[in-house]
Amino acid sequence: MQQSRRETSSAADEQEASNRLKTAVHPRYRERLFQIAITGSVLVVLAIIGLIFSMLIVHSMPSIKAFGFSFIIDQVWNPVTSKFGALPFLAGTLLTSFLALLISLPFSLSISIFLGEYMQGSRLGEILRNMIELLAGVPSVIYGFWGLMVLVPLVRDFAMAINEPPYGVGILAASLILAVMIVPYSASVNREVLTQVPNDLKEAAYALGATRYEVVRHVSIPQSLSGIFAGILLSLGRALGETMAVTMVIGNTNSLPSSLFSTGNTMASVIANEFTEATSTLHLSSLIEIGLLLFVITFIINYIGRIIIKRFSVSVR
């Protein structure tokens, strides 16, 4: 009796399922179909990564052939004479990213100490933490717009006051906006790392009569040093690839930046500016090669950061 009920119910199920599928597929094949679908999806992801890398290489071939290694040490970028050297953009990217890191570091570190040590578990700390993490989601084009309207005039006034070229846009403006953008990100990584310091260690220090400053200085920070370093690397990966905000405030000139106040271009911003205007194959291919370089650099930096973070969280646990 039970047997027959189960059979009828499963028959009804099949009926329903085949109605839903319209094309009746035999249950045995459905199983296989499902396996193929999920395996296929994973393979799609693997294929995308492979395809990104190979497409970038294939399409930058004309430029690699034409310029070879001199592509990254030549500082002339001139579409009219078809001479392409990427040094100004490499310099612009490295300069703005490292400056941004330098500017943001004290801020992100203190906010993560504040949240991770002083405000751990408190209501105010929770609110502040959520707010900062939300700010990491604000689209970069909006940061760029704000930078252009508010920050650039400020930088211009400052440059005027100290007798520097008063463009406003340039390396300094780009570094400042980048710094503002990476603070939420690196603060949340650093906070995470700091909260993973074992409580036993901190409590032992407190029991010995250490002040809070001494605990942070001699226990928490040394314990999480490699994690903080990884956080810096991950923020650097962010800053290197950041496009829109930088494009809007850096001034977009294809020459080697000579000072903090001079205009320039980063690897990402030159692609954003010239990609749709590139008419010759060589020009387009040079831009794609810059994209390839950017891909490789961010990959290496992110990869090292991830390895450190992983080793770190394992050792703490």
Partner: protein, 282 residues
């Protein structure tokens, strides 16, 4: 002597606290100021016309961003249609076979993909979609955004499904249910909140992305429903109008920024609250 030493240590501690608090306030201020500024400028720009009309040419005041609003919705929708099923299925595979070679390399691929600069994804979409199809199109933009959504969806799906207790799955299998049905009727529903959360975060992340759309969706001053043609969208409109010298276009860009920020923040906040409320507990 000891007394003095103690006092110095106390003083150091106090100074440190003050410095940390000061820097925290200094950090929070510009960030809050940015949000405040966008709200102030944006609210002044928004009225009914703003939502239902097209941008006016230079020199005329007024106009709206109907084309960009429609474009962003369509582009993100098409991107989600592509990325969500593939992302969830890949996540299912990786949580079901956590230790085989495919899953391990896929995990690396997901991490790499997550770190690829968005402009490089734009180049990729240009090379594999725009060139073969012969022109800029909204679809190529959706493709680029879909590639950016994948890592987030896959990672959250995998992490959530791994937390679904084995016993649940085993009891369903013991009842004689076929494997695919166990996945669809037991495993995925148990982890649904986490998966939806991942999808929301992915949508929030790509809605504001500008760089991958520069040479894919390209932008369009007119209203367009056809995904094989260039299409306007909010981030690109903000970029183009913000860098133009015209006051009226700046006004439109501020309004568009406000809409974008509200949308992205709402999605983020909802998913945060949702994850607290629906977190899987077994």
């Amino acid at each position: 002597m000891n007394e003095i030493g103690l006092n110095i240590r106390k003083l150091k501690n106090k100074t440190f606290t003050v410095v940390i608090a000061l820097f925290t306030i200094l950090t929070a201020l510009p960030l809050i100021f940015i949000i405040y500024y966008v709200f102030r400028q944006g609210i002044a720009a928004i009225n009914w016309q703003f939502f239902i009309t097209l941008p006016k040419p230079v020199g005329e005041s007024g106009g709206g961003i109907a084309n960009a609003l429609l474009g962003t919705v369509l582009i993100v929708l098409v991107a989600s249609v592509m990325a969500v099923p593939i992302g969830i299925m890949a996540g299912v595979y990786m949580s079901e076979n956590p230790d085989n070679r495919i899953s391990r390399s896929a995990r690396l691929a997901v991490e790499v993909l997550n770190g690829v600069p968005s402009i490089v994804i734009g180049i990729f979409a240009y090379l594999v979609v725009v060139i073969p199809t012969g022109g800029f199109s909204s679809f190529s933009g959706s493709f680029a955004l879909a590639v950016m959504m994948l890592p987030l969806i896959i990672r959250t799906t995998e992490e959530t499904l791994q937390r679904v207790p084995k016993a649940l799955k085993e009891s369903a299998l013991a009842l004689g249910a076929p494997y695919y049905r166990v996945i669809f009727k037991v495993v995925i529903p148990s982890g649904l909140s986490g998966i939806i959360n991942g999808v929301m975060l992915a949508v929030a992340r790509v809605t504001g992305e500008t760089a991958p759309l520069l040479f894919t969706a390209f932008g369009n001053p007119y209203l367009n429903w056809n995904i094989s043609k260039p299409m306007a969208n909010l981030p690109l409109l903000i970029f183009n109008y913000a860098t133009s010298p015209y006051k009226n276009w700046h006004r439109l860009a501020w309004g568009a920024s406000l809409i974008l920020i509200i949308f992205v923040l709402l999605l983020n906040i909802t998913s945060r609250l949702a994850i607290k409320k629906w977190k899987i507990r077994f």
